[in-house]
């Protein structure tokens, strides 16, 4: 299979709170023949705070990254993080509007010279690789574990702008997780907001919102939740204890990045998947892999 090469934007949290996402993503892309070339000396896209302050400032931070990517001669950037995706996707979209690019250039002083695009790694795996091809890489099917896929808000909404999957009932994670052998449960809250970055300002907001997802997942009998967004993961995993305290529940639901489970199914060395970085211990769930329900009970 021909290798596909993209400029890669890891996002700031990839070196911190979502280090397991960046690591497992790199390992999975390597296995699938997706070559990632890191954008040299990339900067923060500004995330939620930048667009909350000003759209031109937000676009300018993204524009510098596109300018840096021009050095690579690669016009398509891919990123694992939906917040980085959304911000920089909006930057490109807004710069098509009359007068906007000029305002951005006043801030960056580096007008872009090529046409760029940005998409999620998930989109590349789903559309360019396809679930059928993913299934061919599976060495250990993850049978015996039931998961709920949680997409979060940003990756494909609104559909007319993001042009990926369905903006009310996305299926990308459902299909990929089924391809690696998981039992995928229908999750009615698959795209309902977890509270995003509001957790730092007020963790009661994220507790209130993400606590519902955890309870519904628990009620459905899920062994784990699977996500594609560092903010969702943080709110569901790191803040799970806060959500439990808020609702008086005692849920212990591991929250994996989809790339971690794909890596497991591909037989990639566990150290490259950084499973030990998850806050809620995934060991009991991992022990179920390959066992039937009766075996797991025994």
């Amino acid at each position: 299979m021909a290798e596909k090469t993209f400029a890669y934007y890891p996002g700031c949290s990839g070196a911190g709170t979502s280090i397991e996402y960046d690591k497992s993503n790199r390992a999975v892309c390597e296995e699938l023949g997706i070559k990632l070339v890191d954008i040299p000396d990339w900067n923060c896209c500004g995330s939620t705070p930048a667009h909350q302050v000003d759209h031109v400032l937000s676009a300018a931070l993204g524009a510098r990254n596109f300018a840096q990517a021009e050095q690579l001669g690669l016009d398509t950037i891919i990123t694992p993080c939906p917040a980085c995706l959304k911000n920089q996707h909006n930057a490109l979209e807004h710069m098509e509007e009359p007068g906007f690019a000029e305002r951005v250039n006043e801030l960056t002083r580096r007008p872009l010279t090529r046409k760029h695009s940005i998409k999620s790694v998930l989109q590349v795996i789903l559309e360019d690789i396809t679930p059928e091809e993913v299934a061919k890489h599976v060495k250990t099917p993850l049978s015996g574990i039931k998961i709920v896929p949680y997409y979060g808000c940003l990756m494909n909404r609104p559909g007319k702008s993001m042009k990926f999957d369905d903006d009310e009932n996305p299926m990308a994670l459902d299909r990929l997780m089924a391809a690696i052998g998981c039992e995928v449960l229908d999750f009615p809250l698959k795209q309902d907001c977890c509270g995003g970055a509001a957790g730092v300002a007020d963790n009661k907001v994220t507790s209130r919102l993400s606590g519902r997802h955890l309870q519904v997942a628990n009620h459905l009998g899920a062994d784990a939740m699977v996500v594609a967004c560092p903010l969702c993961q943080m709110n569901m995993d790191m803040r799970q204890a806060q959500a439990n305290a808020y609702y008086g529940t005692s849920i212990k639901l591991p929250v994996f990045y989809y790339t971690q489970l794909m890596g497991l199914a591909f037989g990639i060395d566990k150290s490259r998947l950084a499973l030990n970085k998850l806050i809620v211990d995934p060991a009991p769930v991992l022990a179920k892999i390959g066992k039937s329900a009766e075996e797991a009970q025994a």
């Binding site: 500004g46 939620t48 909350q52 300018a60 940003l154 903006d167 907001c193 970085k277």
Partner: protein
């Protein structure tokens, strides 16, 4: 809510919101889809559709002084479901920018303090720094104990690097922020000169 006298709204405010958001707020016919799907309504004083109506009526002060403009998390459920294809989230984001410029929101508005603290770490380093952000936020919001229970496990797992990753081009990034701040100041100055002229009422 105080009665609103129709026809006496701030038309300049309506024009500005439409210009900055590139949305036609007149198209909103109050179906309420935005509010039905909004996950943050519980924290709002005005719901999303009420805000749209208030903007149509030129109620600048009511909109910009609302709690809702700060609490929106831009999940874009409203934008996705609007039958008139209004990007409601973008409209609210623009109102938040205007509220910020007008100096509303107060010193202890945690959403505002969070955004400022985050961007400060980007301005310094070129990348955001989670631990630095937490420290700045706690100091500025005077909430030293918030999220403290999360720190031990995150530090132990190496998920909160102590030192920021600083990029080589950080002065270039700082330049973006510097020019932005200068523009804002200039705009503010122009506005205060404008304010000396008699303006339309809000009622």
């Amino acid at each position: 809510m105080e009665p609103i006298q129709l026809g006496r709204g701030d038309t300049e405010f309506i024009r500005k919101v439409e210009e900055e958001s590139r949305q036609v707020v007149k198209k909103c016919y109050q179906c309420g889809n935005c509010t039905a799907g909004c996950p943050m309504s519980f924290s709002y004083d005005y719901t999303a559709n009420q805000l749209m109506r208030l903007i149509q009526l030129g109620q600048r002060e009511r909109v910009l002084k609302s709690r809702a403009v700060w609490m929106c998390v831009t999940c874009e459920t409203c934008t996705t479901r609007c039958p008139n294809e209004i990007d409601v989230a973008r409209v609210l984001d623009v109102c938040r920018h205007m509220a910020r410029k007008a100096g509303y929101g107060g010193v202890f508005n945690n959403m505002r303090v969070f955004a400022d603290s985050f961007l400060q770490t980007v301005r310094w380093n070129g990348k955001s720094h989670e631990l630095g952000l937490m420290a700045l936020f706690k100091m500025r919001a005077m909430k030293p104990f918030s999220d403290l229970s999360l720190a031990p496990s995150m530090l132990l797992k190496g998920k909160l690097p102590y030192l920021p990753h600083r990029i080589k081009g950080r002065s270039e990034v700082a330049g973006i922020f510097k020019r932005f701040s200068e523009q804002q100041l200039k705009e503010l100055h122009a506005q205060t000169t404008d304010d000396k002229k008699p303006a339309g009422g809000d009622k």
